[in-house]
Subunit: 426 residues, 2 copies
């Protein structure tokens, strides 16, 4: 007899998962391995920037007082007493009428207070002197110590995902090691006796397991450390045994399939026997209404649907933000934005629908088109999608030109929370 | 004496690099390692999808002719002769008045031609029979073999970057191994005697090397295999020796700094002594006008500026698309789109300027704000940027509200080419 489950709103379901967050602790890792992780603490300037007064050009460091009377009519010639490269310190202190040749980034030689770029000078053939035909004021072209940042300033807040630009800031302030959250280890089981692995030859009645490789890749994209444990057997006791066996090794467990009402859908009974707290087992959404999340000893058990699209959506809505928040992400949710629907989606649904879509941002306007409307695209709709179109439940469909909410997949950044999408029961 | 270099247009510079592409060949790698790589060949369906007629629900497979007279008033009871799970094949062939209990995904039992979902039936307590109160036509609720795709169909074109949705398609069609371009090995040298490594304590006159860690991370983001060789010495002969030493080990070489007109800027002389073909050594752009690209034996030598922003921009404009095209990317360029400038940028420049910016796509409109306008942001501007704002050269600046082109960093997708940005010499 078919079990009656009470559906809850999708945002309520997301909240139930996210308020139960458990993190796996922090660690210090080398800067060169930190790309893609999230800053677990703010970046603080260990020195002023720049750390000393310096030259922004290749040029001459001069005493500005020597140049006061320089003009095109009355050029002034200064003796060049030394050449100093960046990273070196001038050995001599120039007196009146003397200048130092410096390279970009060189610390200002003692006694000098302005920089004249090469292009504004005329150098003697032998390099012993140079002539200028205008005056310079004190501090002209000098980049002053601490001009950009003072020692102790907060350079970057925590919670940001590390990319090349952040790597540069970390390097500048001496973060040879970076404090980040540990990667959660997430186990994956597939269920379904119809499943073959991708390397297997097809047999009658069987299909290949695409959910497990997909979820493993989604876990990598979210930053977690996935571990695929293979397929659960078609027998309750062995299933239960395998699940309990691996729970000690992981911080979270994902199963694909086995949460519906079929005879071999063992997951509900496994959660019960484990004594896991089921947060929900029915969500008011399509696809993936049977998506179930339970917690056992602070470890989430994500029971995703066996339908590939439902599996994908369930992962992105529930598992991905859990992983990202556990990794320290300040914005763990998919980026939410508005777009214009490029094609009608006439099928109404009482539940909120998450439609695989392709969003394009061309010439300043956003359009999103459902992927997989054509039969030939059903298989490839996930491959072609870069967004989920959020179509709230109601009694009528949506027309081309309607403004809709979209969640962007794989985009830079993300959202700190989801905005509720207004229902349209018209 | 300062060398005179002739600047070329930035798109011309990009083209000179991209028409000289050398690839490092292809390889077959396991599906679970293919995320982030690009498909080097199209994905072809090795079987029809679905590979057989199947049930889309948990329900009963029936002979539609048995149901012709079923109605609420005259329900029809069918004997359930067997239960078949997905992946299994029915052992019996139902005769008139008989049905088979099937799970989602089960191959249609011989002799049956319609599926009735559980919810529309009333099962006997002992499961020996079930009753239905409406008729079903042949093929009702049957997913037909090949409905979504036929054997031999092209599932996905080559040139796409592999993400979880594409992994699912690859798994479905038995791609346990995936053909991809080999990762180019790209060497990185930093130049500049003022440079300390991130783990070093600051010394007077020195700054930390942020360019090399940044470029290494940019290479990883673009998909290449970076190798940092350390800092080049402050001496021409040793520099030359080190460059020639590593050239055999890499497919491309990046240097940061040393391409300008300072006394220790050895790269131009190194290119000359190597007999490398210099494609350009001056680009009509800011920052990074001294960016130089040369080719030696089909290997590009990217001479990026030592200024961090110029280094970053030079990498994204010239090195990243080369890497991505070598990796087989169909869209190797940064995604180009339009946005509204959120803050004025009054400084005019004769050269096209690439301004680090932060683009936000909120509520259906794009705004981009230059990062680093405040002094305190200069150091962190790269960390805060997700876009490069393209401001064409001209005699006046840009005002808030102007529509501008932007290149999006780290975004999903990319462009197949850059659209020329109209100059505005007003």
């Amino acid at each position: 007899m078919v079990e009656k489950r009470k559906p809850i709103h999708v945002l309520e379901a997301v909240n139930r998962v996210m308020t139960r967050l458990h993190t796996s602790g922090i660690e210090k890792i080398p800067l060169e391995e930190a790309g893609g992780r999230w800053l677990a603490e703010p970046v603080i300037a260990d020195e002023a920037v720049p750390p000393f007064d310096r030259s922004p050009f290749d040029g001459f460091a001069v005493r500005s007082s020597d140049t006061t009377d320089a003009s095109r009519e009355h050029p002034v010639t200064l003796r060049v007493i030394e050449t100093v490269g960046a990273g070196h310190i001038a050995g001599k202190v120039p007196g009146p009428g003397e200048a130092v040749r410096v390279m970009t980034g060189t610390i200002m030689p003692e006694g000098t207070d302005a920089i004249v770029m090469f292009e504004l000078t005329k150098e003697a053939e032998d390099g012993s002197s140079m002539t200028i035909s205008r005056s310079f004021a004190s501090d002209d072209n000098v980049v002053k110590k601490g001009e950009e940042m003072l020692k102790g300033d907060e350079v970057l807040a925590s919670g940001q995902r590390i990319h090349a630009g952040i790597t540069a800031a970390l390097a500048t302030f001496g973060y040879a090691k970076v404090t980040v959250a540990k990667k959660p280890r997430v186990g994956v089981f597939a269920t379904g006796t119809e499943l073959l692995e991708p390397g297997d030859k097809l047999e009658p009645g069987k299909i290949r397991n695409s959910n497990a490789p997909m979820v493993v890749e989604q876990l990598k994209e979210a930053g977690a450390e996935p571990k695929y444990f293979g397929q659960l057997p078609d027998d309750f006791d062995h299933c239960y045994e395998q699940v309990t066996d691996v729970l000690g090794e992981v911080d979270a467990l994902i199963t694909t399939g086995g949460v519906s009402v079929g005879d071999f859908d063992f997951l509900p009974a496994i959660y019960e026997k484990l004594g896991a707290e089921v947060l929900f087992n029915k969500v008011a959404m399509r696809p993936g209404s049977v998506t179930t999340v339970a917690f056992k000893d602070e470890k989430p058990l994500f029971g995703l649907s066996g339908n590939p699209s439902a599996c994908f959506v369930g992962f992105e809505l529930f598992a991905a933000p859990w992983v990202k928040k556990a990794m320290g992400a300040g914005k763990p949710y998919l980026k939410q934005t508005k777009a214009v629907l490029g094609k009608s989606f006439p099928k109404p649904n009482p539940f909120t629908r998450f439609v695989r879509g392709h969003a394009s941002f061309e010439n300043g306007s956003h359009t999103v088109i459902p992927a997989g409307l054509d039969k030939s695209q059903v298989v490839t709709s996930l491959a072609l999608s870069n967004a989920l179109i959020v179509l709230p439940g109601g009694t009528r469909g949506f027309e081309a030109g309607d403004e809709v909410d979209v969640f962007l997949l794989r985009g830079d950044g993300g959202s700190a929370f989801y905005e509720p999408v207004k229902e349209r029961r018209t």
